[in-house]
Amino acid sequence: MNELDRLSTLDPMRDFEPTAERRARATAGLDDLLRESAPATGRRPGTRWLGALGREPMEEAPRRGAPRRGAPRRGAPRRGAPGKGVLGPGARRSGARRLMFGGVAVAAAAAVAVAAVQLVPNGNGNRAYASWTATPKAVAVADVLPQAKQCATGWGADWETPPTAADIVLAERRGDATLVLVKMDSTALTSCFVLDPAEGAAGADLLDTASPAPAAGRVRTVSMGAVEGSEGWYSSVIGRAGAGVEKVEIELPDGTEVRASLRDGWWAAWWPGHEGGEADGVRIVVHADGKSRDYRPSQLHG
């Protein structure tokens, strides 16, 4: 008997069966649920951001005009509209794909986060993260090593050897904030955000490096989404670039052009706001071979 088999004998729920009464209550709850809210219909490829590792996406873009629900159910997650006020209370959340730091270590990868995201008080469209710049500043890897180490610490025991400069694939600064792509234990690639140097790492993701590089002049997204951070929502997109890609820009609905950092076949950008979690909420403009083409994110993922 190996240790997993031995453990399984201690399963606290090994012999648990719900009572008929409990099951009846659950079925009654199901009836309520089906009466009150319409289902999501159809699969919508590309409307969600790919989470860590680009596997089955767990995050979902907010849906405008989604059926409004009645009063919150007992025990149901709290809901609220993110920053810019475009989403009604019944709309799908653009929730935290990452579990956030905030004194707590980051999760390797979270699943859907519809629950317990705080209401963002300023729905007036003011962008937070005041020092943020649309054009990043490239930084020497040695200068971001402290941030990379902070990120590594957040993974706890999953990250065994502190990163060195050789592990850093891409690093950029936008105002006070640092975004770094850094190899975990010299193998898996992670992205990490240090938005406020005083707070340390805000979140991190494990990235999918398994799929082949895009063709020349093309790009692909590996991770895209929006997360609620300490100063409000922020979006990010990280991807790979084929040979000859000269520049990648993210065009926001308000016309802001966010210049992505590009290095060694990887590109990355982040910005205040939650457009990255919306269905094709931005356009991605790729410059290669002296020409530019713009894409919807759903054309670029996977």
Partner: protein, 177 residues
């Protein structure tokens, strides 16, 4: 509408097939009083995302519930893991009367010496009965990553059970497959 009727029927079938498993999954992680609320919230999310469900819906549902747990109480989030309860948590006297008591006490002790993150990956397999592919889906990580973590957690559990184990022996390697 036919489509909606079909979706509703399918969702009812999913509920019937997974309700007990999901309730067990949640009750392994939080006290019974709160479990029904989390289960119903998870089904609400599942219904709203029903069109996006993967073929294997059970780990998908577990992942939804896990995240609700993580978000409802950040205090439950220890090193990024949703911690798992276990027989013996509050019942050492009961355990004392059971057969194989020494081995059992050792196991419980070794379990609690692990990190919450280790406990979570072990529990997904040993308690929740998931395959590595399914467990990776619950955590939203790559299968190879899950296997790496599971291997490490098993190694640490074994080390906890057998203090004489040479901790400097080679660690497991893993590869992307």
């Amino acid at each position: 509408m036919d489509h909606d009727d079909t979706a509703e029927e399918r969702f009812r079938a999913l509920h019937a097939a997974t309700y007990t498993d999901l309730l067990r999954f949640v009750k392994r992680r939080i006290p019974d009083d709160d479990a029904d609320g989390v289960v119903s919230a998870a089904f609400l999310v599942a219904w709203r995302r029903f069109g996006d469900r993967p073929d294997d819906a059970r780990p998908w549902l577990f992942g939804i519930a896990r995240n609700i747990l993580a978000n409802q109480a950040r205090s439950r989030l220890r090193r990024g893991a949703v911690d798992v309860r276990m027989v013996g948590d509050h019942s050492t006297t009961e355990a004392d009367r059971a057969p194989g008591v020494d081995a059992r006490i050792d196991l419980v002790r070794a379990w609690w010496a692990l990190s919450a993150a280790d406990r979570e990956v072990l529990a997904l397999v040993a308690f929740d009965g998931l395959t590595d592919v399914q467990a990776a889906a619950v955590l939203g990580c790559h299968r190879a990553t899950f296997r790496m973590r599971l291997n490490r957690a098993r190694r640490r559990l074994r080390a906890g059970l057998e203090p004489a184990t040479d901790l400097s022996s080679p660690v497991e390697t893993w590869s992307r497959t």
